[in-house]
């Protein structure tokens, strides 16, 4: 499903060269729930961005869902992200001026999906995270856990093959964090969705199929 071959990422300025990822090799088969751990600044988010086609590696090959992503044009990359990937972020990234249902609809806006169908799929996604009754609320009317569940609904509304979660429980207390984790595990088990999750929380990481540890841009486990 996801294959990283000798992936490196180097940020260069006129005076400094910073290696964010150093020769990473990683295989994530379909249906796996992989967690990535490591101290701050070790390159976890950079790795997730590269898998999510939000960033390009300086070196190496990234193959996602059978496609070598470097060959994509900007437009094709956008389409690929839209159809194959779902994103969940630590700070939720809900648009405050849109209702919950409209936030969930967002990925479908960039596909040829009718308004009626968008609405149906979004309600279905909200139902699956237990928030259908909140669909006409605005994000600022929700708790942190609810916001993250809305973000999960948004990530799954387009039925992606891969979900990339960047510290999804990082801003939540343990109860809410567990709720969110339960939803992700359910998605992984029942929907066979491949999930790559960056986390700082050992307890959450232990619930996943496999753990990869990074340190200073290199894979140590």
């Amino acid at each position: 499903m996801i294959s990283l071959q000798n992936v490196s990422k180097v940020y260069r300025t006129k005076t400094i060269e910073t290696t964010a990822l150093n020769n990473i090799n990683l295989e994530v088969p379909k249906g796996e729930f992989l967690s990535i751990m490591g101290p701050s600044g070790c390159g976890k988010s950079t790795l997730l961005n590269i898998i999510g086609l939000l960033d390009e590696p300086s070196d190496g090959a990234v193959i996602v869902a059978g496609q070598t992503v470097q060959k994509y044009s900007s437009k094709a990359t956008s389409r690929f992200r839209n159809e194959k990937l779902g994103f969940i972020f630590q700070s939720f990234h809900l648009i405050p001026d849109l209702k919950v249902i409209d936030n969930v609809e967002l990925p479908l806006l960039y596909r040829n999906v009718s308004g009626k169908e968008r609405r149906r799929l979004s309600e279905e996604a909200l139902e699956s995270v237990g928030l259908k009754n909140r669909m006409n609320h605005f994000p600022n009317q929700l708790s942190g856990g609810q916001k993250q569940r809305v973000a999960i609904a948004r990530a799954i509304v387009g039925k992606p093959e891969i979900i990339l979660a960047d510290e999804p429980t990082g801003n939540l207390d343990s109860v809410m964090g567990n709720e969110v984790m339960d939803i992700l595990m359910k998605l992984n088990k029942e929907g066979q969705t491949t999930i790559v999750m960056v986390t700082h929380d050992e307890n959450m990481a232990r619930k996943t199929n496999r753990l990869v540890r990074l340190y200073d841009g290199s894979q140590i486990q």
Binding site: S45, N49, G52, L54, D55, S74, K75, S78, R79, R81, N82, E83, F87, F89, S91, H93, I95, D97, L98, K99, D102, E105, L106, P107, L109, Y110, R111, G115, F138, R154, G158
Partner: protein, 389 residues
């Protein structure tokens, strides 16, 4: 996507209201100024119906003390003959005291025909056509013998014909207009109050140069007549009229002075509107930059969820365009009341054209101001923007 943008605009209505008010007010100001400009400039393409180059006017002293009507007639005949005989003078004519650019009019209306006819009157002699380059489009100009005609001859402008006798020729017909009059000719126009004057029905009546009220002399000069020739004309007039209380004016200079009275306020208003448009443009530009900087994480998110660069640019341009369309529609609602309720007595089509031009100008400004910030928004790197929050 349109409904999505509308939702965003609606949900941010308090933030957008100031921008809408600014665009709405700018539309109304532009509408007012453009209506005024169109109203005036529309008539620049219509002929005034007479020449002003190489034409001089002599305003005679009307105080003919000690002269009876016979003496006055003789004096004017002499004056006309002597002036005509001077080198550089190709034609001489007399009219009553209603001269060009004086804003004086002599007008009357009559309902003798069973409907009301309104017209301005101008009294001129048989040489006026040649002297002023009047364009007769049907029939003829006055002739000397017309003085003895059974029915008083009259010449009308095309506007008069279109207004009261459309689709038929009235040349040689008798009409009841302050008595029986025979229409002997139709001219294209004689808008003697300037190039910005609205077309109005105008009638000419024959007035021989010998008449007491024939007080303005019109001279047609040869091209390149020197200004110094005025002194010779002045001496001739003074010696014949025995008066120095006359004024010689260059008609083209009078025309320029007259036009300036409209051009200056028009240019001033256009300049003010231009500054207003620049202000609106700068304001929009600033608001867009501010919005985009405040919404970087949203842009990053949309890119992550599959929005292409083009979608982002279209969204931001679309948002500001929709706000503008909304403001312009409100503006049009108010502006359209002017012609509908006939608040100002000028042709409604001018207001409709002005609305169209104002809307186009505002939309163009908005598109120009939105393009660059929207393009910048589309270039935001999603990975960077998502981690700025």
């Amino acid at each position: 996507m349109i409904s999505h943008i509308l939702k965003l605009i609606w949900n941010k209505k308090s933030n957008n209201s100031l921008l809408i008010i600014e665009i709405f007010l700018s539309f109304l100001v532009l509408f007012a100024v453009l209506s005024y400009v169109i109203y005036n400039t529309d008539r620049l393409s219509i002929t005034t119906g007479f020449e002003t180059e190489n034409r001089w006017l002599i305003y005679l002293d009307r105080n003919n003390d000690g002269m009876d009507s016979t003496a006055i007639a003789e004096m004017k005949t002499t004056l006309k003959r002597e002036l005509r005989a001077m080198p550089n003078i190709e034609a001489v004519s007399f009219t009553n005291g209603v001269g060009p650019y004086s804003n004086n009019t002599w007008q009357s209306s009559s309902d003798d025909m069973g409907f009301e006819i309104f017209s301005r009157y101008v009294y001129a002699d048989e040489d006026f056509e040649e002297t002023m380059g009047i364009n007769v489009i049907e029939g003829r100009w006055f002739e000397e013998d017309d003085v003895n005609a059974t029915y008083e001859p009259m010449i009308v402008n095309e506007f008069f014909m279109n207004e009261y006798f459309p689709d038929k020729s009235m040349v040689d017909s008798i009409i009841l207009f302050d008595g029986d009059k025979r229409v002997v000719g139709v001219i294209d126009d004689y808008r003697y109050n300037g190039i910005f004057e609205e077309p109005v029905s105008t009638s000419f009546f024959l007035q021989p140069h010998t008449a007491e009220r024939a007080s303005i002399v019109y001279l047609k000069l040869s091209p390149n007549t020197p200004k110094t020739f005025e002194e010779e004309v002045s001496k001739t007039v003074e010696s014949i009229t025995k008066s120095s209380s006359f004024v010689i004016q260059d008609l083209s200079a009078m025309e320029r002075r007259n036009s300036r009275e409209t051009w200056i306020p028009m240019i001033a208003l256009l300049s003010i509107s231009g500054f207003l448009c620049i202000n609106v443009a700068l304001g929009l530009f600033g608001v867009l930059w501010y919005n985009i900087n405040n919404r970087r994480s949203e842009i990053g998110l949309r890119r992550a969820l599959g929005a292409s660069r083009q979608s982002i640019a279209s969204q931001f341009t679309g948002e500001v365009l929709m706000l503008t369309v909304l403001a312009v529609l409100v503006g049009i609602f108010f502006a359209v009341q002017v012609p509908l309720l006939k608040l100002i007595d000028i042709p409604p089509v001018i207001f409709y054209r002005s609305m169209l031009y104002s809307a186009l100008i505002i939309l163009t400004i908005v598109v120009i101001c939105a393009l660059y910030p929207s393009a910048q928004a589309s270039r935001i790197q999603p990975a960077t923007a998502l981690h700025e929050d």
